[in-house]
Structure formats: structure tokens, C-alpha cells
């Protein structure tokens, strides 16, 4: 790792960091917080799906576990929000390792893997909607205590910087993976698992680690969600909505690229706002729009926004040379 590989990460993050200095609108900042949250959750998915080629439909399992662990530790056990946040991430990673072990060891790939992860997330959602510890149907409410010691902030800007820092950390993790032996093996497993095994790659262990890291990052998004909204129920924490957003962001933004999830999250969230504006907030229409955009991206721009941008820039350089 050298500065040449880190610098392209620092500049966009620095540019994003100064946004609250100029923008004071709560609506805009809230929009940016949500987009960065989805980018973070999507970055988790991207490590397993984009780099590892294992498409999960159940990242809600990790998001929800992170969120519930953070909330329940505070509400029921009086744990401070900061360690609760860290334990939430660890709990999400553990759930990822367990689900990964069960499904990868049985040799599940492709659509079978996707279906099993979806099933795990749904089972957790149903359990959470009846278990007393999660507040069942009523949900879990974290007490309002707007002090940094409680991981709650007066200003939107502070929350914004926290989620930006988390996303920046995920960028760094992805960049380290990209330039490591583990990353090379992960991509090799995505491209051709048998060939990778023949070259000494322990495919099971590689996929398991990828799933654990992926789950930890997505769980961090869940922990942040709990602190930001201070309320959870089973449909929010373990609902299919977050599994869908987790995979939409990197697919639309650019699979297996560090900035794909951010580009995708911004594009999806902007479209969502646009849809609300056009349709007057008719329920479900944003989902229809997501579907249409997903079909268009997969059809016309399989590399996502990131792929489109590099295609345009290479065309420009070619035009400049020609």
C-alpha cells in the first residue's frame, strides 16, 4: 500500500467532509446521511458479492443483528452506546460467519446461496417480530439522550461525519483487500472456483472470511441506524428492504469497485426522491422505479455508474489522442 493507492480515496472523502460546512439544510444532510448509510451497507455486500461473486439476498440478517444488538444492550442491559456499537458489529460478523459456514460448507452457490441467505434473514425477521427481547410487535425504542457519550448528537452534521467516517473506513478496508493476497484469492474464487482450488486456494475459507467481513460492515450500518433513528422493529431491522438496498447500491454503482456502493446509493436515493416528487409519495412506486433502473443498468451498463464513468473517460482520452 502506498500513497498512490490511498490518495484517490482521500480526495472524495475530504470533499464530502466539507459538505456540512456549506450546506445547513437538514433535509439535504438527512438525505446525505441515508445515502452514506446505504453506501456503507452496500459496501459490506460488495465485498462478498462484488469481489467474491457470492450474491446474498439476505444482508438484512447482518444489518438487523447489528441494529438489535446495539439497541437491546443499551435498553435492557444499560450498556453504554459505544461498546454496544462495537458489540453490534461483532454480533453481525458472527451471524455472517455462521450463515456462511452452513451454506458454503454445503456447497451452495449462485441462486441457491441467494435463496438460503434470504431464508435466514426472513427467519430472523419472524423471530424478532415475536421474541419478547426485541419488543416483539411494539419494537425497541432507545432513550433520547443527545450527548456524544451516548452516541447521539445534537446536530445532523455530527451524525453525517460519523457515517462518513464509517464509510471511509470501509473504503480503506476494501482498498487493503484489493491489494492483498486475500483479495486476489477472493476475486479468483469469483471468476472460477475450481481453477482457484487447483492453484491452492482454500475456497471455503476465503468465502467464509469474505462473508464475515461483509457482515461486519453491513452490521455497522445497522448499529448506526439504531443510533440515528432510535427506533427498531422487525420489519425495519430484518426487513427485505435493506437486503434489496444493500445489493442495489453496488450493482447500480459498479460491482467490485470501491466507490460503486457510494455512486449507486446516491443514484438510487436521488431517484427515490425524484419518484416521491413526481408521484406524490404513492406507496411502493419507488420500488417499481428501482426495479426499472436495475433492469436498465444490468442491460445497458453492466459495469454500473463506475463502469460508465471509466468508459466515458477512456472515450474522451481516445478522442483527445485521435
Amino acid at each position: 500500500m502506498n500513497s498512490r493507492k490511498i490518495l484517490p480515496l482521500v480526495i472524495p472523502v475530504a470533499a464530502l467532509a466539507v459538505v456540512p460546512v456549506f450546506v445547513h439544510s437538514n433535509v439535504v444532510l438527512n438525505f446525505m446521511v441515508i445515502a452514506l448509510l446505504i453506501a456503507l451497507v452496500g459496501q459490506g455486500w460488495n465485498i462478498l458479492g462484488g469481489y467474491g461473486g457470492q450474491y446474498s439476498f439476505g444482508h438484512a440478517a447482518f444489518f438487523g443483528t447489528g441494529a438489535y444488538a446495539t439497541a437491546i444492550l443499551q435498553v435492557r442491559y444499560g450498556v453504554n452506546a459505544w461498546p454496544a456499537f462495537a458489540i453490534g458489529i461483532a454480533a453481525g460478523a458472527l451471524v455472517g460467519a455462521v450463515i456462511g459456514f452452513l451454506s458454503f460448507r454445503s456447497g451452495l452457490r449462485g441462486s441457491y446461496f441467494a435463496l438460503v441467505t434470504l431464508a435466514f434473514a426472513e427467519v430472523l425477521r419472524i423471530l424478532a417480530s415475536v421474541a419478547p427481547i426485541t419488543g416483539a410487535g411494539v419494537g425497541t425504542l432507545i432513550k433520547l439522550d443527545l450527548r456524544p457519550i451516548s452516541f447521539q448528537f445534537q446536530s445532523r452534521a455530527a451524525f453525517y461525519w460519523v457515517i462518513l467516517a464509517l464509510f471511509a473506513l470501509s473504503l480503506l478496508i476494501v482498498r487493503v483487500i484489493e491489494n492483498s493476497r486475500f483479495g486476489a484469492r477472493l476475486v479468483a474464487v469469483r471468476e472460477n472456483e475450481d481453477a482457484a482450488r487447483a492453484l491452492g486456494v482454500d475456497a471455503l475459507s476465503v468465502k467464509l472470511w469474505a462473508m464475515t467481513i461483509s457482515a461486519a460492515i453491513t452490521a455497522a450500518g445497522g448499529c448506526f441506524y439504531a443510533q440515528y433513528f432510535l427506533f427498531l422493529d422487525a420489519g425495519i431491522a430484518y426487513g427485505p428492504w435493506i437486503s434489496v438496498e444493500a445489493l442495489l447500491a453496488p450493482i447500480i454503482g459498479g460491482l467490485g469497485t470501491a466507490f460503486g456502493p457510494l455512486l449507486g446509493a446516491l443514484a438510487v436515493k436521488l431517484l427515490g426522491e425524484l419518484a416521491k416528487f413526481v408521484t406524490g409519495d404513492a406507496p411502493g412506486l419507488d420500488l417499481v422505479l428501482y426495479g426499472v433502473v436495475l433492469v436498465l443498468v444490468v442491460w445497458l451498463a453492466p459495469g454500473g455508474v463506475a463502469g460508465l464513468m471509466s468508459r466515458i473517460s477512456s472515450r474522451k482520452t481516445r478522442a483527445a489522442h485521435g
Binding site: N192, A195, L199
Partner: protein, 251 residues
């Protein structure tokens, strides 16, 4: 007789009602090229998969450096020095030639930079030097075969199993790659190869095993095998073999 690096003893593989490999025995001697030939569907690739751990034998034993390795998973065998190539080439299509080879190099090298550097050197050895930054998916068949070879070499094998690396190549491409294989052997790597291109088999190998319908029906030096009536029969069928023998008597 030189010491056998690999010994396959009475290995069988049954798929339901089909006995794909039946009590096969063979050995690969240290530092030599051993060939495995046989008609299509004889079970050669299955036998390879049994040696490399991609399939578990129904019975029998595979011994490597005197140690029983039967049924050990492929990645562990690779780190012990047994590396295979695939008959149907399996490139990491989305990666460049350099990145493809580096995956093999990573078996013994942790650093990314060092693995990429090793990949460059090996690409040069097999004649892929000018294509380092090309995506593997865009290569010609001949270049993909070389890439299979390069990736396997990068993993520093002691025993290299080549599954039809010459199939699908033009005669001039074969002429180019035969010396590469010989150079690998001269570098101290023991080779076991499945091959259909007889000219190359006769040219390269020191010992040949013939597999037909899952059984080893003949073994010996290239000249012995070429004259073995059982082998001719396996390839051409009973009648043709008899006719051939008949016409040999006439002349």
C-alpha cells in the same frame, strides 16, 4: 528404476452404475514425463481428478512422496506441490494475464507486489510476455493454453498434471509449446500428461500408460506402446486392428 514421486494403486471410481476408473495403477517417476493416453471417454480426466483431490476414489490409494494422500482436498495438495491444468481451459476471465498468473504465485508468496512480479517472469518463460495486461477472456485458444501452464507453474509444482494442453492447437503452435514443456521437465518438475497428440506424446514422454474403458491396458516405453496390438485395438476397434495385422502380414 528411479523413485516414483506419485503412485496410484488400484484406484477405482464409480458413478452410480458406471465404473469410470477400474483398478487403475500407475506411477510417475521423479524428474520424468509420463503420459496417459487412451480413447475418448476412457476415464483419463476422471483419473486426474482422483489424483488431484477434485474427486474422491471409491477405492484404492494415491501415494505422493511415500505419503497416502487419497481424498485430500485440491488446495492442500497444491501447497504440497501437486498442481493440475484443465482440459477445458479455466481462465479467470475478468482478470488480466498478469493477475491470473499471480493467483498461482500467491500460493508461496504473500506480498501482492512480489506475486505480480513473479507473474511477469513466468509469463516471459511461456511466451505470454507481450500479453500481460490483456484480459484473459480475450486471449486466443493457444494463449489460453499457455496461461493454464503459466498459472500452474507460478504455483511452483513438484508434480505437474497437464490435461491436454496441446489439444486444439495448430501444428505450428504445438511445435512452439513442446520445447516449453521439455524445459519445465528439465527444470526438475515431474510431469504427468494426458495427451491425444501422438507425435508430441512419442516425442516428449519417457513412459506411457494406456487407459481404455477405465482400465490400464498397457504401459511401457513409447516404442513398445506404438507396437502393442491391445493399444491399436483400443483405439481402432477389434476388426480394424485385425485387418491392420492382416495387411502387415501381406506386406
Amino acid at each position: 528404476m528411479a523413485e516414483a514421486l506419485l503412485a496410484v494403486a488400484n484406484v477405482s471410481k464409480r458413478f452410480g452404475g458406471l465404473l469410470a476408473v477400474d483398478q487403475a495403477c500407475l506411477s510417475a517417476e521423479q524428474g520424468k514425463i509420463t503420459a496417459l493416453i487412451g480413447p475418448n471417454g476412457a476415464g483419463k480426466t476422471t483419473l486426474f481428478a482422483l489424483i488431484c483431490g477434485f474427486l474422491k476414489p471409491s477405492s484404492g490409494q494415491v501415494t505422493y512422496r511415500g505419503e497416502d494422500i487419497t481424498g485430500r482436498p485440491p488446495h492442500r495438495l497444491a501447497s504440497q506441490g501437486i498442481v493440475r491444468t484443465f482440459q477445458i481451459v479455466q481462465p479467470f476471465a475478468g482478470l488480466t494475464v498478469r493477475e491470473n498468473i499471480a493467483v498461482g504465485a500467491h500460493l508461496h508468496v504473500a506480498s501482492r507486489a512480489a506475486a505480480l512480479k513473479a507473474a511477469e517472469r513466468i509469463a516471459g518463460e511461456v511466451g505470454l510476455g507481450p500479453m500481460l495486461d490483456r484480459p484473459a477472456g480475450n486471449l486466443t485458444v493457444a494463449a489460453r493454453k499457455r496461461l493454464e501452464l503459466a498459472r500452474a507453474l507460478a504455483a511452483k509444482p513438484a508434480l505437474l498434471l497437464l490435461d491436454e494442453v496441446l489439444a486444439g492447437l495448430t501444428p505450428s503452435e504445438i511445435r512452439d509449446i513442446v520445447p516449453v514443456i521439455r524445459a519445465i521437465r528439465d527444470g526438475g518438475v515431474t510431469i504427468l500428461m494426458i495427451e491425444h497428440v501422438m507425435q508430441a506424446v512419442m516425442n516428449l514422454s519417457e513412459r506411457i500408460y494406456v487407459l481404455a474403458e477405465g482400465r490400464i491396458i498397457a504401459q511401457g516405453a513409447p516404442a513398445e506402446i506404438a507396437a502393442d496390438p491391445k493399444v491399436i485395438e483400443a483405439y481402432l476397434g477389434h476388426d480394424a486392428a485385425n485387418r491392420l495385422r492382416g495387411s502387415a502380414h501381406v506386406h
